[in-house]
């Protein structure tokens, strides 16, 4: 019990006066009991799939506003999708906490770069990031592309740069990633399935 004995006895006197007062007809009129108002009444529902394990639970994301031009949709609550044949509205502790993933303070917001030897990040624009990355990739590819092996067989591979693909990005992202990466001749290419 968390209440200290001392507190416990302080309670008694307060209780005495309080309940006695009401018993004599001095019932407070304001602030009668009401339940909290239902917080999702007019929020917008969007169907999605939990991004964690492979059960693929259906979720409903509730967002602020009704998609009007001037309303900024902010997700305010996430629950299981009761129509989904597998999870039937249920979620695990990870799925149930998805809102805190969406709003994690460790979400990345801007492209950054850490220069050689540096101790810190520096914010950069997307164009600069893309330009620099593409340039580095091209330099490496042009320098190390293997068109033919020692036997003179055409092998067209690029081994000095590798790529690890995501485990939770959608098929469409995965498809275009494969298309680009293989097209450059990369073989050092895996996804989370390998581990």
């Amino acid at each position: 019990m968390q209440l200290s004995r001392r507190q416990f006895f302080k309670v008694a006197a307060g209780g005495l006066t309080g309940s006695s007062l009401v018993a004599m007809g001095f019932s407070p009129t304001a602030a009668l009991a009401e339940v909290r108002s239902f917080k999702l009444a007019r929020s917008t529902e969007t169907r999605n799939t939990c991004p964690y394990c492979s059960v693929g639970c259906g979720i409903i994301m509730y967002s602020l506003g009704d998609r009007a031009k001037n309303a900024h949709a902010e997700i305010i609550h996430i629950e299981g999708d009761p129509d989904h044949p597998v999870n039937r509205g249920t979620l695990c502790p990870k799925g149930a906490g998805l809102l805190d993933f969406v709003h994690s303070k460790n979400r990345l917001r801007y492209p950054e770069v850490r220069e050689p030897g540096s101790k810190e990040w520096k914010r950069v624009g997307w164009d600069e990031a893309f330009d620099r990355i593409a340039k580095l990739m091209k330099e490496d590819r042009d320098a190390n592309f293997v068109a033919k092996n020692a036997d003179g067989t055409t092998v067209n591979r690029w081994l000095t740069t590798g790529f690890l693909a995501a485990s939770a990005s959608s098929n469409e992202a995965g498809y275009i990633t494969h298309k680009v990466v293989r097209n450059l001749g990369m073989l050092a290419f895996d996804n989370q399935a390998r581990v």
Binding site: T46, S54, N106, K138, V155, L159, A168, N171, R182, V195
Partner: protein, 811 residues
């Protein structure tokens, strides 16, 4: 999964082994509790730890980590010797009667053809005997000593309950209770499902463990049936999809494979992958490989892929060896790599031997991180005290960190373990300037293409010819990409049965992979996904959850590959005459009146092939049947054999005590330096295993406040006996070390880990949850993979995270 989540409710027995479904897949596990509540199903859990799954089990048996083949081998021996096999099933649906070449042998821990120098087998002798007609020779009487059945019986006869107890530490009576429970499903009216996950894959013999499980299920006649199957519970939400799409070093989309550098001839490349039937009347569906392949190359290269240039065969890079992540980080560690991109991936935490991985990354010229979260990998160069003690000044890697969207901020499909492609919708804008992965890939690619167009460079042809007809080139939309992997036709396609009828007009989306052609008239980015987005619209977005057969098969919900089929090999749910084995569990059956297969599922079969035709249910195999004998398809042998983990607590393989070279997987690849980094039981006496907790997801949810609250701080689990021996109390801080490094964590002292008696010794397990790191809102902690060994499965190179050696002491 051969089956799918809701199908688990149809099981009579559920075996969870090599996984912990309650912990890692709670919402899928509900179908286990459902099977128990409504089907009187029994749950059996075999695990080194008494897990959350075990908490609900009817029967729990402990097992030493890494000894699953011995356990399951013991089950095979039990089933065969007590005649608890579904004989009618295996006679018709497996290779049990096939004759094996005389060269094949097994002696003293090695199969025939072993080269100890190269740690490799010459697998040519591991095959069937072929007759003059080119077909496999069989002996339906099973009398020939060279038939698979007799070889298999002999192989597993060594796995007696006593041997199982001695290797696994499972008390004999517990083992026999499990075997008996599993064996109860050999009758046609009872079915068992097996649920496994990374507790099987993450071993140096992982693939063979899974094969052993498949053999158990075949013996019991449980494959292809509702409530049955061998079910891989994948670890991540779209790891199934990314694998299906072939984002692995040796794959192309739809489980097609890249050519090796010796495969210089295009026709031979195709022919090798499109095997002719090995028995009369078999379908051997991979014979269509050419259609899938040409359609892929047309999707990628359009008009630049022509018959004349072998559909741009030269554009594909050719393999000289495997480039799995262990190989790649080995090369990186040797300083042979310059650039690396990690998209939604945290290799510093995810790969074994963190010290080696960190040192490898430090040798890169540039590293690109694409992620929604601030991962440890993105800050491998930053000093985080004891957790990551590096000197940034000495690390010359340029690191880019690009913010990507998360699930809530994009449209698209992801694929669950049951192979369901489920579409999801965007609910909000991403934070700051975050972009979607396709936008980021486009951003890099379009710049590269521009530079190659302008300045030229090494082999620019594929780059310049890659199809990119997206309406907004910098932002390929999910809809466009989904249609691209579904496939379309360039020309009018005629009905093969009635060439006067046009079934598809030029430009239309295809209905499925049966419409693919190898003449260049169709394009399809991933043949197994064909049918996902047709002229009828987005099949992945379907939301009809009706379950008219009450078997959990909601064919109107989303789209399952292949062809919206929910249970693979479902032809095997019917007997050879085409009648369901069990009327209570009808899947597909032959309707003679209609002359076709019908049922509650999409038949996994040639729809009009009558039972009399004798076509086998395993249509992807050229044999038409399932294989007990793996031929040359596995690197360490056609039959599974027990080998110890590379770090073994007993130092010997009790199956082959006289052959130290057969202690651990003889065909597993070990790099120089990594062998030396293995520890021995003398210094590191305890068997360790890593795993997930239900409160967390991998290395993500330590960034998530609600999950940090319910499981805030790194801990390790040790049994009461070991704790007593070491004077450790619950809540003490302990140091856990392997030959590669150490971590410190809080000790959870538990009755749920019991010491096991193995080969005359006492083996203690140490359980190490993996979720912590030096970035997050949970309490910072050590990277668990500081401890793990840099060695992988002999076939897939999946690291041996589940069995290694540590020492434990009070910190």
């Amino acid at each position: 999964m051969t089956n799918h989540w809701s199908d688990i409710k149809n099981a009579d027995v559920v075996l969870i082994m090599g996984g912990n479904a309650a912990e890692a897949h709670p919402c899928g596990f509900k179908w286990v509790t459902e099977a128990k509540a409504t089907n009187k199903a029994r749950l059996v859990v075999v695990d080194p730890r008494f897990t959350r799954s075990a908490a609900l089990a009817d029967l729990y048996a402990p097992i030493r980590t890494g000894t699953d083949i011995a356990f399951l081998g013991g089950v095979i021996h039990y089933l065969i010797s007590t005649n608890k096999v579904h004989l009618d099933y295996i006679k018709s649906y497996t290779d049990m009667s096939y004759l094996v070449k005389d060269e094949f042998a097994f002696e003293d821990g090695f199969f025939s053809g072993y080269d100890a120098e190269k740690r490799k087998y010459d697998k040519s002798g591991w095959d069937y005997q072929l007759g003059d007609d080119g077909f496999v020779k069989t002996d339906p009487t099973l009398e020939n000593p060279r038939c698979v059945w007799n070889l298999m019986k002999a192989h597993f006869s060594r796995y007696t309950p006593e041997v199982v107890e001695n290797i696994c530490g499972t008390p004999k009576d517990k083992f026999l209770q499990v075997a008996e429970m599993l064996g109860s499903t050999h009758t046609p009216n009872r079915v068992m499902t097996i649920l496994y996950a990374l507790g099987w894959t993450q071993h140096s013999v992982g693939s063979q463990i899974i094969r052993t499980a498949a053999m158990v299920q075949l013996l019991l006649g449980n494959i292809g049936r509702a409530g049955g199957g061998v079910n891989a519970l994948r670890g991540h939400s779209n790891i199934q999809g990314l694998t299906d799409l072939g984002l692995l070093s040796n794959l192309l989309p739809g489980y097609m494979t890249l050519p090796g550098e010796k495969e210089t001839d295009y026709a031979q490349y195709i022919a090798k992958r499109a095997p002719k039937p090995m028995r009369p009347g078999q379908l051997s569906y991979w014979q269509n490989y050419g259609k899938f392949h040409v359609s892929l190359m047309k999707a990628w290269y359009g008009a630049a892929a022509t018959r004349e240039n072998n559909w741009a065969f030269d554009y594909l890079p050719k393999l000289d060896k495997s480039y799995d992540v262990l190989q790649v980080f080995e090369l990186m560690h040797q300083g042979k790599m310059n650039g690396y991109v990690a998209q939604g991936f945290n290799p510093l935490n995810s790969f074994p031997n963190k010290a080696k991985v960190g040192a490898a990354l430090a040798k890169l010229k540039f590293l690109v991180i694409i992620d929604p979260l601030a991962t440890e990998t993105s800050e491998f160069w930053q000093n985080h005290g004891e957790f990551n003690d590096v000197d940034p000044a000495k690390i010359a890697t340029t690191v880019f960190r690009l913010p990507s969207t998360c699930f809530a901020e994009e449209d698209g499909a992801i694929i669950n373990s049951g192979r369901w492609l489920q579409w999801h919708w965007k609910g909000a804008e991403p934070p700051g300037e975050a972009k979607t992965d396709p936008e980021i890939m486009a951003g890099i690619f379009l710049r590269l293409r521009e530079m190659y167009k302008k300045d030229g460079g090494a082999f620019p042809d594929p780059i310049l010819n890659l199809t990119w007809a997206y309406k907004v080139p910098s932002e390929p939309s999910p809809e466009e990409l989904a249609k691209e992997y579904n496939g379309k036709t360039f020309a009018d396609q005629l009905d093969p049965k009635d060439p006067t009828k046009v079934i598809k007009k030029a430009g239309e989306l295809l209905d499925g992979f049966a419409q693919l052609k190898d003449d260049g008239s169709t394009a399809c980015g991933c043949w197994i996904f064909s049918g996902a987005w047709t002229e009828k619209g987005n099949m992945m977005a379907r939301r009809d959850n009706a379950d008219p057969w009450h078997n959990g098969q909601t064919l109107g919900w989303a789209f399952a590959w292949p062809a919206n089929r929910r249970i693979l090999y479902n032809r095997a749910a019917a007997d050879p005459a085409g009648k369901p084995w069990d009327a209570r569990r009808k899947q597909v059956w032959w309707d003679a009146a209609q002359g076709k297969w019908v049922g509650s599922d999409v038949p996994d079969f040639k729809i009009d092939s009558a039972p009399e035709d004798g076509m086998g249910p395993f249509i992807m195999n050229p044999e038409g049947v399932a294989r007990f004998f793996a031929r040359g398809m596995m690197n360490e042998g056609p039959f599974p054999e027990h080998y110890e983990p590379f770090e073994t607590p007993i130092g010997v393989n009790p199956m082959h005590p006289k052959n130290p070279k057969a202690t651990s997987n003889p065909a597993a690849r070990v790099f120089k330096g990594d062998m030396e980094a293995f520890g021995t039981a003398k210094e590191f006496p305890y068997a360790a295993t890593t795993y997930r907790l239900t409160e967390h997801f991998h290395y993500w949810t330590k960034h998530v406040e609600s999950n940090a609250i319910i499981q805030p701080e790194q801990f390790v689990e040790i049994g009461e006996a070991l704790a007593k021996e070491k004077g450790i109390a619950a809540g003490d801080r302990v140091k856990v070390s392997s030959n590669r490094g150490y971590i410190k964590a809080v000790a959870v002292v538990t009755k749920r880990i019991q010491p096991l008696k193995v080969d005359g010794k006492t083996v203690h397990h140490v359980g190490i949850p993996l979720h912590w790191g030096f970035k997050g809102v949970a309490k910072n902690g050590f990277i668990t993979n500081t401890l793990t060994p840099f060695v992988g499965d002999g076939n897939t190179q999946t690291p041996e995270f589940k069995s290694f050696l540590v020492n434990v002491e009070k910190a």
